[in-house]
Symmetry: C2
Subunit: 330 residues, 2 copies
């Protein structure tokens, strides 16, 4: 039959060729199918989840930040806030500083309610200290830290904007809560907010600190903080207060400039009245503000001078929320 192949008319040859090719293709498909079925099901954690690749895995250390949130006796608020903060754009990871000594972290519950957008690490503490949140955590991979109090809710819009501002002012504490110190003729300093007299440098008010309970700052400052005089730690431990004032002293001393840049928040809320725990936060203690003035004066002694500098720059987001929020009578 093969010899006759060449002499047969085209149509007969075509049908035979077609039949042959079909058989070959069919056999190949069957083999492929068998091989696929036999491939092992790889459950390697390093394999990306192909359903939706988590954005954070690919975010570089420069374009993302780590949220550090210390918590004490307000786990309900913590979890409420974590639902919100875990989804903020450019968030790399959350570090929860667990000051509930002896109490189990809610890791099981957390995992049972996964998957989560970013990794959350619970750092169990051995002593309930205010300055626990200022450790140089090994889990910290990003250049930027966002530090939030466990009763403070700031909108994602505000945070995204403030993060972009921090990226333009990386050596400053960029945040939402400005405070100031003032001099008095006796040389004793006082701490406060706008209700205090303006420092008197031209018109308007000035601020000399931005509180770290709602702010972005460079993770390098956590490293710096480990190298401060012992008296600073003693002061913070004695008052269970003033870690934020100490950080502002550190940054101002380091940069020779105002420590903070104030970004005016559109939506910032204090949720402490929403807690079931009944615990209402350190700032309700009678001596809270007096302590902070006390801390300012102690830190001036420790650092042998007043490094804090004044600023009157208030930053808002152009065209947000109102697209014409810069309109004027011209």
């Amino acid at each position: 039959r093969y010899f006759h192949f060449c002499k047969l008319p085209g149509r007969v040859m075509g049908i035979r060729l077609l039949r042959f090719t079909s058989v070959v293709i069919l056999v190949l498909l069957l083999v492929a199918g068998a091989l696929t079925a036999l491939l092992p099901n790889i459950k390697d954690d390093k394999m990306p989840n192909l359903r939706r690749e988590p954005k954070t895995q690919s975010q570089s250390a420069l374009d993302s930040f780590t949220l550090i949130m210390q918590t004490y006796n307000r786990t309900d608020l913590l979890l409420k806030l974590l639902n919100h903060y875990q989804a903020i754009p450019h968030l790399h990871k959350v570090i929860v500083v667990w000051n509930n000594i002896g109490e189990k972290v809610p890791e099981e519950m957390w995992n049972s309610l996964g998957p989560h957008p970013v990794p959350v690490v619970f750092k169990v503490q051995t002593v309930n200290r205010m300055r626990n949140r200022l450790q140089n955590f090994p889990e910290l991979e990003t250049k930027a830290v966002l530090m939030m109090d466990d009763d403070t809710l700031v909108s994602a819009h505000d945070l995204a904007f403030a993060f972009s501002v921090w990226q333009q002012f990386p050596e400053h504490i960029v945040g939402f809560v400005p405070r100031k110190h003032i001099s008095t003729p006796s040389g004793v300093y006082s701490y406060g907010s706008f209700e205090l007299q303006n420092p008197g440098f031209g018109n308007g008010d000035q601020y000399s600190m931005v509180l770290i309970g709602a702010a972005f700052f460079h993770s390098g400052y956590l490293e710096d903080f480990q190298r401060q005089p012992e008296a600073v730690y003693a002061l913070i431990d004695e008052t269970q207060n003033c870690d934020d004032i100490a950080m502002n002293f550190l940054v101002a001393k380091r940069t020779g400039k105002p420590s903070g840049v104030f970004v005016k928040p559109v939506d910032i809320r204090n949720l402490e009245k929403d807690t079931n725990s009944g615990y209402s936060g350190m700032w309700h203690r009678a001596e809270h503000l007096l302590q902070r003035s006390y801390c300012v004066n102690k830190l001036v002694n420790i650092y042998d001078g007043m490094p804090l500098k004044y600023s009157n720059i208030m930053i808002s987001q152009f065209g947000f929320p109102n697209y014409a929020n810069h309109k004027n009578k011209m």
Copy 2:
């Protein structure tokens, strides 16, 4: 009498001594008086005016700025504005760019209404060109320039604050009028303000230019402007427009950053309706905005690329005018 002097009783001697001393004093006073009357009346211009030493003589080139104001056909507004601007804190000198070709500068009237807080120089121009104000004037001694249109009134408070902001951002155009360009799918750019679509980088709007008709910038940029491609001058002369867009291109190209920093003015007014001249400014021409879009595209050709960058930073003064203008619900 003299011999007896020693033997006379104390009182008699006292009276004689007193009489003698009185005569001597009187003679001395008369001589002094005569000398004072005879002293020449020195009218040396280098002698300081001891009645009130002008502050500006002692202001260093870093702590003060030069106002450059171009004027055409609105001398009434010019003089009104000069009364205001001549008294702004940290002003070193005023340079009036006189585009009223063939018309005498009001120097006589100006001098007759002196003394003035700062020197005002009238620079007579030979051709009425928009870019006359962008010359590198030899009278310019300060690092900072404040450029104002001759129909724009900005409060002293706004100017003092914006100057302090410029000192923190000296490589930027720090001013009160933000504008932007947008891309379109065709690659053709359009010029406008908030009524144009947001460029789409996250929330809110962005600006990519700050107009120089109400802004501070570094005097070095005037020097730079003299070294631009001929086509830039031709474009500005052809349109009698766009010198400010060209300056923003220059600064953006030079710094690789957004050219401007927008300071939100509290009180900015356009006085053009107040003029007796009936002249109402270039921006009322029908083709004004279309020309500016045209300029953006031409400049992209000339500079072989789009150097303008977006920013959404809006700066206001902390605690002014309202001492609690940063208060929030926390």
